[in-house]
């Protein structure tokens, strides 16, 4: 411990002009992958994180399948409530997975990790990009697990493999869009507890006041007005049609418009909050 003798100035030679555009682009990719790897390692090391991201959605499946499901009527749905439920649960799972994004960014901000990374010669975009990539991978794994559990309790894709895959892709893209909102809230609020509380305030109504768990026709009129016209409903309707059959086009365009809108607004907001964050 006493024999610390680093040779000062033996690092990579610095050209005042800085690295070329190509080198910087290469670094942006490798740095993003490094941060992704780091985030996934952390996720796998903490049992509580795995609990939160995997066990909780599985419990939701079982709860709605066996406890509430018997009381919920879904006339005309092939395969009954379990088939109605699964696309909804998957959408909700993708949205809730972004809790982790907001909390992790707020923690890193509070602990000074983001500051430290910003003082390094790494690509500045990589912290945020690596977070989004890691969380999307995490979300994808969770979705696949929920589909597996769904199959065990009676869910079946009724519309072919191609559209089943399309449904999972749509759910992941939807989750990534919500991830941008969560990343923004995490960085803008910057305090773990507040971020958690705020997440409940917007994520719960957005997912539960939708077509995810019950047919919207069973809600009171004033609630239908909201539930029928919000993005989660559009996305879940499309996912349900992809899984079970039914009209796709109309709600697909609305979904794409909403998701594009969310990316256009919240991705730059998240980047700005990251740049300002200290």
């Amino acid at each position: 411990m006493t024999a610390v003798a680093p040779t000062a100035g033996a690092g990579v030679p610095i050209s005042p002009a800085g690295p070329s555009l190509l080198t910087r682009a290469h670094w942006a990719v490798t740095d993003t992958l490094t941060i992704t790897r780091r985030n996934l390692l952390v996720w796998m090391r903490v049992p509580a994180y795995i609990m939160f991201t995997v066990i909780q959605p599985v419990m939701f499946v079982l709860l709605f399948r066996y406890v509430f499901g018997g009381a919920i009527q879904v006339p005309g749905v092939k395969g009954g409530y379990v088939n109605f439920l699964l696309p909804g649960i998957i959408g909700q799972t993708a949205a809730f997975a972004t809790f982790g994004t907001a909390i992790a960014l707020a923690q890193e901000l509070q602990k000074g990790v983001i500051d430290r990374l910003k003082s390094m010669p790494m690509a500045r975009s990589a912290v945020l990009a690596g977070r989004l990539v890691a969380d999307t991978i995490r979300m994808f794994i969770t979705i696949v697990i929920v589909v597996g559990v769904g199959y065990a309790v009676g869910f079946r894709f009724e519309n072919g493999v191609g559209l089943a895959i399309a449904m999972i892709v749509l759910a992941t893209v939807f989750g990534l869009a919500i991830c941008c909102i969560s990343a923004y809230t995490g960085l803008a609020i910057g305090d773990e507890e507040s971020v958690q509380a705020f997440g409940l305030v917007w994520l719960f109504p957005l997912t539960f006041l939708s077509s995810a768990f019950v047919p919207i026709a069973s809600m009171p009129g004033w609630l239908q007005a909201f539930a029928n016209n919000q993005p989660v409903t559009y996305v879940i309707n499309v996912m349900r049609s992809m899984a079970l059959g039914g009209p796709i086009a109309a709600d697909l365009w609305k979904s794409i418009a909403w998701l594009a809108g969310i990316f256009i607004v919240f991705a730059p907001l998240a980047v700005r909050a990251y740049k300002r964050a200290s």
Partner: protein, 347 residues
């Protein structure tokens, strides 16, 4: 200050920064020659961390300029980042990952290949006495070990200039001494170091030059010895066990010292600068206190410490209570007669 022909490693001119109404930096000048240690000393909220954040490109200054190894921290920020290392107050390590993983990932972020990052991590773990703990999650480390790992991470890129922002705050005394050894050996290796601290003994131990910052301004600069010289000669110090007699004691020695004595009513400690009249003042003090009928403990002359310097320069002690309420003061409480203490020096 610097050798002729060699530009300083850190050069700061007229640096200003405000956060809304709060003027964190009101025009700071610094010059740190290569291979030397600058100690930036000041209480919480003095502007130390703001200065470090500007120098490490984390914050843009409002005015003035700052160069690190000749690179402008605003216009050539990425060149600065390739030159520096930063180790902050909070351990910026990922606690769930092992010490080795933490350093390897940092190596990758400094754009070392895996082939270079792995041996570099192993080398640093060895140097910092963390080899045995290398494969344990960092959250199982002691505070001192975490701080060493954090410092090791800041050295992965072999920085020419290292910034240590309060490297020993919150460490137990033994870990502090260990950290000092490490810092000394870094400097012996030729690294330029800027170290912020609120511990006067730390600046005294480690720094070649010291600047004292208070309320966003440099209020004094020089070597530890030069700063001690500012107090002017020896200090007479004693404790009054009976707290009710503290003010009587202070009155008894008022004529003896140069300026007003500094009184800490809580601890009963009184001290006063006596200039060059050391032994004469000591005798007078004994007589005077005896005549006043005040009992004292540990009456003695001593060389001024940086504590005395800080008190003399700012009118308050260096180690204040933190805003959060956590107490960090070691030897001295808050200066009670603030303006008096300030007068004592200016006269």
């Amino acid at each position: 200050m610097s050798a002729p022909g060699s530009s300083p490693a850190i050069l700061v001119e007229g640096l200003t920064k405000s956060f809304g109404e709060v003027r964190a930096l009101r025009g700071i000048d610094l010059s740190v020659p290569r291979g030397t240690v600058l100690g930036v000393l000041g209480p919480n909220g003095a502007g130390k961390t703001t200065a470090v954040r500007i120098l490490t490109t984390l914050l843009r200054p409002d005015g003035g300029r700052a160069l690190v190894e000749g690179y402008d921290v605003v216009r050539q920020a990425s060149a600065v980042r390739r030159t520096i290392g930063l180790s902050g107050q909070s351990a910026a390590i990922q606690e769930e990952l092992t010490g080795r993983e933490n350093l390897e990932i940092v190596g990758r972020l400094y754009h070392l290949s895996w082939r270079d990052a792995r041996p570099r991590a192993a080398e640093l773990l060895e140097q910092f006495g963390l080899s045995e703990a290398a494969n344990r999650p960092a959250k199982t480390y002691s505070g001192g070990m975490q701080r060493r790992l954090d410092l090791a991470a800041s050295l992965v890129g072999r920085p020419k200039v290292l910034f240590l922002d309060e490297p020993t705050t919150g460490l137990d005394p033994r870990s502090r001494l260990g950290m000092w050894d490490i810092i000394r050996s870094l400097v012996a290796g030729g690294t330029t170091l800027l170290l912020t601290t609120q511990y006067l003994d730390e600046a005294d131990e480690l720094a070649d030059e010291i600047v004292v910052i208070d309320h966003g301004q440099v209020i004094a600069a020089g070597t530890a010895e030069e700063l001690k010289g500012r107090v002017g000669g020896d200090v007479l110090e004693f404790t009054v066990p009976d707290r009710n007699r503290v003010s009587d004691a202070a009155e008894a020695i008022t004529r003896i010292g140069e300026g007003e004595p500094h009184v800490d009513k809580e601890t009963g400690v009184i001290n006063v600068g006596v200039g060059g009249r050391g032994s004469e003042a000591l005798v007078e003090a004994v007589r005077s206190l005896d005549a006043a009928g005040v009992q004292t403990q540990g009456l003695a002359l001593r060389r001024p410490s940086l504590d005395d310097v800080f008190l003399a320069l700012t009118g308050h002690a260096a180690e204040e209570e933190e805003p959060g309420g956590g107490k960090r003061g070691k030897r001295r409480g808050r200066g009670s007669g603030d303006s008096d203490a300030a007068k004592a020096v200016s006269s």
